[in-house]
Structure formats: structure tokens, C-alpha cells
């Protein structure tokens, strides 16, 4: 399960994991913008960016191969559009699409694999993202697995009663979705009742603020400077 794996990775301990989420978000944004604005395939530059991400992956003690394959989820779509680009006589664009989408995906994966989501959301909160949205995201993430398990339990139950349900009839599938909706709704009410019982008054406690250290600021500045310097040096 992809998100369970990322969740586990994000709770490891390493110098990268210990960095402040705000610093990591800023560094990642610097990289994303630099990558998104590349237009010519400059091999050295791509190699340098790739190496920078690689160093971070190693420093974060994340499994290299699984990170590299994990970031490859964008490749099927990029390849499909790349083939169209080549067919319409623009191989440069095809290469750039692949490079840009892969590097961006690796950057994003590195960010979430080295930062627990609650801390990442706390960082986004510090950066001024709407708190309401972040709270909804946190609930969503919390109950993602719970409801998926409920759905697969329902599927197993249906299978044990009716034989193969690989393909439920349309109406039955709709019924299953409806039941799942009703259960999710009930669960949400139960959660709310439990929250009220624990003193919830309509305001979520804010994300626990952690101090932004000098080392974090230096990391963010250094990362952005390195990205820009690489662009300056390698044309």
C-alpha cells in the first residue's frame, strides 16, 4: 500500500527528517520551479539536479531503488504524451516532459517521505495555507485507510455470499457505494460526538509549532542557492 509505505518512511530518523518542514517545503518549491522552467535538455544540469535529489535521498536513509521506482508513477502518462510529441516532430519536448515530470515527482516524493504528513501540514499552516483546508486534509488522511478497509471488507462479505463479485451488477455496485457512504457518514457523526465529549468547541487545536532553527534556514537558503547556481553554471 503506497501511502502506508510513505507513512512509515516519513517516521524514520535522519538529518533530513529532522529538518523543519517549512525549510523542506521551501527547498522543494525552489527545485520544482527550477525544474518546471527548464526548456532545453541540458544533460549536465539534469544530472546535477538528479544528483542533488539523490544525495538528499541517501542522507534521509530512504531506500534508493524504491524511491526511484516510486517516482516513476508519472512516467506512463509522460511517455504517452512524449510519444505524441515525437510523432509530431518535437523530440526535444518529449525528452523535457519526461525529465521535468520525473524530477518533479521525485522531489515531491522526497518531501513527503522525509516529513510526516501532520508535520508537513503544520509547515504549510506556518506558511499561511488555509487552516480549514489543512484540517480537512488531516481528517481525510486519517480515515483513508479505515474506509478502504471497510470497503474491502464489504467486498469480501459480498463475495462470500454471492460467489464471484469481480463484476457486481451496476445497481448492486451503486448499493454498495451508498452503504459505504452511509457508514462513512455515521462514522463522521461518531467522531464528532467523541470530539465534543473531549471538549471540542468548533476550533481545532492548531498544529504544534516547532521552532525554526538557524540550521533550517541555512539549509533552505543553501538548497535554493545551489539550485540557482547550477542553473547559472550549466547552460
Amino acid at each position: 500500500m503506497r501511502h502506508a509505505r510513505i507513512d512509515r518512511w516519513s517516521r524514520l530518523d535522519s538529518p533530513v527528517h529532522r529538518l523543519h518542514p517549512v525549510a523542506k517545503v521551501l527547498a522543494a518549491l525552489g527545485m520544482l520551479v527550477a525544474v518546471a522552467t527548464m526548456t532545453k535538455p541540458v544533460l549536465h544540469l539534469v544530472a546535477v539536479y538528479f544528483a542533488m535529489l539523490g544525495v538528499c535521498v541517501l542522507a534521509a536513509r530512504l531506500p534508493v531503488v524504491r524511491m526511484l521506482t516510486g517516482a516513476a508513477v508519472v512516467l506512463p502518462f509522460a511517455c504517452a504524451i512524449g510519444v505524441v510529441s515525437i510523432l509530431s516532430g518535437d523530440p526535444n519536448r518529449a525528452i523535457m516532459l519526461l525529465v521535468r515530470s520525473y524530477l518533479s515527482s521525485l522531489t515531491a516524493l522526497l518531501l513527503v517521505a522525509s516529513t510526516p504528513l501532520s508535520e508537513l501540514l503544520g509547515g504549510l499552516d506556518r506558511l499561511g495555507a488555509p487552516a480549514f483546508l489543512l484540517q480537512v486534509m488531516q481528517f481525510l488522511y486519517r480515515y483513508l485507510m479505515v474506509l478502504r478497509e471497510e470497503a474491502s471488507a464489504m467486498r469480501d462479505a459480498a463475495a462470500s455470499r454471492a460467489g464471484s463479485v469481480r463484476i457486481l451488477e451496476f445497481k448492486k455496485a451503486a448499493g454498495a457505494a451508498g452503504v459505504l457512504f452511509a457508514r462513512a457518514h455515521t462514522r463522521a457523526s461518531a467522531i464528532h460526538r467523541a470530539m465534543v465529549a473531549r471538549g471540542f468547541d468548533g476550533r481545532m487545536p492548531t498544529f504544534r509549532p516547532t521552532p525554526l532553527l538557524l540550521s533550517d534556514a541555512i539549509f533552505a537558503a543553501a538548497a535554493v542557492c545551489a539550485v540557482v547556481a547550477a542553473r547559472l553554471a550549466l547552460k
Binding site: R2, S105, L127, Q135, E150, G175, A177, A182
Partner: protein
């Protein structure tokens, strides 16, 4: 339909991030004003429900199956503003955890699916007072509008779209839109049998701004389809035309446009990109301050 990073050019993703940030802040405030506070867990759990419901396969014949996308269903059950927030949260989680859709492209994806898609899905429901074909049309439109907006954005970014590719993708979009419509009707039917209270009957005095926005989205999408079908062999020309149009517009709106249009020099483009991020950040910050700082007062 989730656009990854690396596909959109800066003149597409920067303005869309700029537009999406205050829109989400405004919708968040609206969603909070509409409901009492038990909606926060409800909205999160409903987002998780959409993920889980996508495990349920709906057979559509020929051995293939579709699944619920859910924008329209959410807008019927939670109301359009809350549905937009839930869809935004879904898209953000997908971009972060599943690398499904890019982070810089999040504004574009939010605009396509969480804002335009949800509003386009809600509009027929509102206008047809929740009748069955309104529900069907809502499902169809929510998907079609999002897909066509994504297509237009890719074309504006210069992604080549020869006629054959365009025809196939539009055909696929239409089929999946009809499937989404049918699934939405079926699920709404099931919900009404289980517990009728789940659906929010469209209010008679539905906000006129919402209607206007939804109308604009639908018109935009229809115009896109129209232009594409008028010049089936010339989407490049269409992109060129609209590209020129958007350039002209961005000259008016943005001092960064010079850099982008100068085209050749990468420093200019990088600066434009970084400035873009800066502006997105500032707008985010200001809009959040202005719009969503008083959640406690209303409730």
C-alpha cells in the same frame, strides 16, 4: 486528468495557482459559514469515502468497468462550497502522497476539478431542482468540464495534440462523463433508499455568484468543445490563437509576462517562475488572513 508537474508552462500554472488560492480560501470560509462545526470531521471522512468508493467497480459492459469520481455527488450531499473544499483536499493528498498530479500544477487541477468541475456538476442539480436528469447531467458535466479544461491547459502550454489524439481523448472523456453521470444517478438512488436525508435539496435562493461562476465554467467548456470541433485539424492553431490571446491578457495582468514572452532566456523564465511562486504565496497569505481568520465568530 490529474496534470503532473512538468507539463504546464509557467504562463498557465502561475495564473491558475494565483486564481485557485483565494478561491479556495473563499470557499473554505463559505463552507464554514454554511455549517456548524461538526462538518470538519464530516468533510474529511467524506473525502476518505471518495477514495474508498473508487475501489468499487461499476461494470459498463464489454468487460470494462468505471468508478465514481465523485465531484457531483459531493456537491449534492455537502453543498458546492464544502464539496469544493473536499475535492481540493483530495487533490492535495493525491498530489502529496500518491504523486498523482503535480504540486505546482495543483492550482490547475484544483481549478479544473474542485472548482469548475464541482460547480458545473451542481448547476444542473440546482436548475432542475434535483430531478433525476439534473443529477445525471451534473455527473456528466462535472467530469466533462474538468477534462476539457485540462485539455485546453495542456494545449495552451504547447503540448502537441494532433487531431487523432484529440479525437480519441475527447471521445474517451465523453464516454467516462456519461459513465460518471450514470454512476452518480445510481448512487444517489441508493442513498435515497437508505436514508433520504443525505441529499441537500437545492435551496431556492442559491447564491447567484455560484450560478454565475458555474455558468461561466460551462460556457468556457462548451466554447472549448466548439472550437475544437470547428477546427478538428487545427488545435495547434487554436492553441496558438488562444496562446496569443492569453499572452496579451497576461501582459495586461502581469509584469512577468515580458520575461516569459522574451522566451529565449532561461534566467528570465526562472525569475518569472520564482516571482510567480512569491506572488502565489503573498496572495495566499493575504487571502487567508482576510477571508478565513474568523472561523470562530460565525459558529
Amino acid at each position: 486528468m490529474h496534470i503532473p508537474d512538468g507539463f504546464l508552462s509557467a504562463r498557465v500554472w502561475v495564473p491558475l495557482d494565483l486564481a485557485a488560492a483565494p478561491a479556495v480560501a473563499w470557499l473554505g470560509r463559505r463552507a464554514q459559514r454554511d455549517f456548524d462545526h461538526h462538518r470538519i470531521p464530516l468533510m474529511g471522512v467524506m473525502g476518505a469515502f471518495i477514495f474508498a468508493a473508487q475501489m468499487i467497480n461499476f461494470p459498463v459492459g464489454n468487460g470494462t468497468s468505471g468508478h465514481l469520481v465523485g465531484g457531483a455527488l459531493l456537491s449534492f450531499t455537502l453543498g458546492p462550497a464544502a464539496a469544493s473544499i473536499v475535492m481540493t483536499a483530495i487533490l492535495a493528498i493525491q498530489a502529496l502522497i500518491f504523486q498523482d498530479g503535480g504540486l505546482l500544477a495543483l492550482g490547475a487541477n484544483v481549478f479544473n476539478m474542485a472548482i469548475a468541475g464541482v460547480l458545473a456538476g451542481y448547476l444542473p442539480y440546482l436548475l432542475l431542482k434535483g430531478r433525476k436528469y439534473g443529477i445525471f447531467l451534473g455527473g456528466v458535466l462535472s467530469l466533462l468540464v474538468s477534462a476539457i479544461l485540462a485539455l485546453v491547459e495542456l494545449a495552451l502550454s504547447g503540448v502537441p495534440m494532433p487531431r487523432a489524439v484529440l479525437t480519441v481523448s475527447v471521445a474517451l472523456f465523453v464516454v467516462s462523463a456519461v459513465v460518471e453521470g450514470a454512476i452518480t444517478v445510481a448512487v444517489v438512488g441508493a442513498l435515497e433508499k437508505i436514508q433520504p436525508g443525505f441529499l441537500r435539496r437545492p435551496a431556492a435562493n442559491g447564491g447567484s455568484a455560484r450560478i454565475a461562476l458555474a455558468l461561466a465554467a460551462s460556457v468556457l467548456a462548451c466554447a472549448g468543445v466548439f472550437v475544437a470541433s470547428q477546427h478538428p485539424d487545427g488545435l495547434e492553431r487554436f492553441a496558438q490563437k488562444t496562446g496569443i490571446w492569453s499572452n496579451a491578457k497576461s501582459v495586461v495582468h502581469s509584469p512577468l509576462a515580458d520575461y516569459q514572452m522574451a522566451g529565449g532566456h532561461w534566467i528570465g523564465r526562472s525569475i518569472a517562475g520564482l516571482l510567480g511562486i512569491g506572488i502565489v504565496y503573498l496572495v495566499c497569505r493575504v487571502a487567508t488572513r482576510a477571508l478565513s481568520q474568523r472561523p470562530g465568530e460565525g459558529s
